[in-house]
Amino acid sequence: MRVTRRRVSLFVFAFLASSLAVQSPSWSQTNPSEVTKILIGYIKQEVDKKALPLSRLDNPLEDDGIAGARLGLDDNNTSGKFLKQEFLLKEITVPVGGDAVAAAKSLVAEGYRMLVVDAPAPTLLQISDAVKGDDALLFNVSATDTALREENCRINVLHTLPSRDMLADALAQYFVWKKWTKWFLIYGAYPDDVLNADAIRRAAKRFGAKIVAEKEYKEAGGARRTDSGHEQIQAQMPVFTQSSADHDVLVVADENEVFGPYVPYRTWSPRPVAGTSGLTPASWHPAHEQWGATQFQNRFFKAAKRGVRAIDYNAWLAVRAIGESVTRVKSDDFKQLKDYMKGPEFSLAAFKGQKLTFRPWNGQLRHAIVVGDRHLPVSWSPQPGFLHQVTPLDTLGIDQPESKCRF
């Protein structure tokens, strides 16, 4: 069935290509060199969430991320038809407990060299090691772990989403610009929360803010609706957020949503909340409309019937980075594509008012980061005045001289 569909689409494509080219020889299956085909794999590792997000608005969707990759594919193919390039996307969803490494290896064996990976850091590293000797490039679209860009960096991985440090720095710059420099940090008990809190501490130190108090929330949470304990968590927030230290803002590090979403409006002191709740840093905002983003949002909404989430944008970036490189290199040669993407000539226009490029020392895509609440972007970092000798974007995250990444 799939083969038939692909044949049909190839036929349509060949027809388009021949009508566009001035003297195009008629396409036949024996002469496939006419069209450069780029195979992109998408691996989505499902994760056993301890509980659903506290707000049903944030419930995971089946096409989270994949919808972005599909739009990227459409965009690539719209451009590709003028250059006789065709992009194909194969999506694999790996269930909880499934073998993402085997999925990646089978894709590589089938000739897929560009793999978009939506998986937690340990799985991403396993895949990276498993395809080490192969012509394969991985695109991390969901793991924010800074270590993946630092001591655990891999030469065959590019990161199209910002790291925890980049996100924390974006938030910090905004507060420093706002002169809200006294922070009360509260964080959860999971390892992710500890890393998140570390990133906040580092950002405070880096940009001249002060963490005047800290508190850990030790409960591990429960099911979203059935656990009567959630009522208690809400009720605990006023007392939990009490601090003797005078603070401008409460920064929450609770990546697993045990208590974070309950913090706003329940604080002991009337203070704004930021971090994983309240004012939040992200690679994308569903209401962002500057810099031509309206068209992108419209295009996505038409296709997916919903707004763009950050992971959709991250996946779109990965597929577009591949498309942009194929367009410029005019080849499907793996080495050329990989070198081009990491090289100084590569740049991506991605509705952020300036080009995005990869940091050559750790494979991280440079980002402007939006700081926003549920409804609207509030600001974009880097904030004016934070300068850097290469690009202001490098004021976000760990910079080259301090990087521990060695390929």
């Binding site: 566009l20 965009d75 451009s79 003028f82 068209q295 038409k302 410029r328 740049s347 226009a349 080009k355």
Partner: protein, 324 residues
Amino acid sequence: MYERRLFALGMASLIAGMTPAHAYKVFVSNEKDNTISVIDSEKLEVIETVKVGDRPRGITMSKDGKHVYLCASDNDTVQVIDAATYKILYDLPSGPDPELFVLHPSGNPLYIANEDDNLVTVVDVLNKKVLAEVPVGVEPEGMGISPDGKFMVNTSETTNMAHFIDTSTNEIVTNVLVDARPRFAEFTQDGKYVYVTAEIGGTVSVIDTKTREIVKKITFEVPGVAPEALQPVGLRVTKDGKKVFVALGPANRVALINGETFEVEKYMLVGQRVWQLAFTPDEKYIFSTNGVSNDVSVIDVKEEKVIKTIKVGRLPWGVTIAPN
């Protein structure tokens, strides 16, 4: 005797000074206000503000100067406005979300870029009918047409191409890859070159219209301005092809390029986020719309300097000037 002569001379020069140079009407679309500002090109002041459709952006004039064509992007239509009475006469079918367009040198048809649909829509302005839809790259925007009307160039912002379209068949004949986010295409009057600006790439590509190859890529550099802020958008060329003016967006400058050497000669400081440009028909002035500072700058083309800033509506986007 001497005194009388001096007096006569004085009178003569006074009279000469009083004889007004031809005043043209300058129309500026204000994206945020849903209005257009009408400026008198000699008085250099706003003489009228006209309520129009939602999110007005691309704006141009009919060749006889009687009509203003305006992309009312959020209404998915092109409005036709009487240039004398400022009344909205009727709408043209435009396809969704029209942003920029170009009129055939003969005055008909109108070629419209539909950003959301990856299409260029060809519209007969007299019969108010869609003649053709040309599929192009992702997010079509810039629209230029050769002086003989035989070819038009559309730029697509995410595909990063200049598409040459044969206007007799309405089909793409050549695609030229340019830098990131191409925004605007403008032919020289002799038809030899087409200039294409790339906002995110930060360059202007000069394409030879015969070979359809890039003969020069112009880059910009302003001391004290971050390189990523140098974002070329609107571009206009004098009729003799010698002076090329480029709006540099958030760099708040208009660059002047020598049309013979393709070297940047000068940067002129204008208002904030400079977007589009238009010459008066006598090429005495070129006007720039400055989106963030809500004004237009008037540049004296001969003197190569900004002579005045005029306050208009909010988010001024496009500008067109009556030919008569």
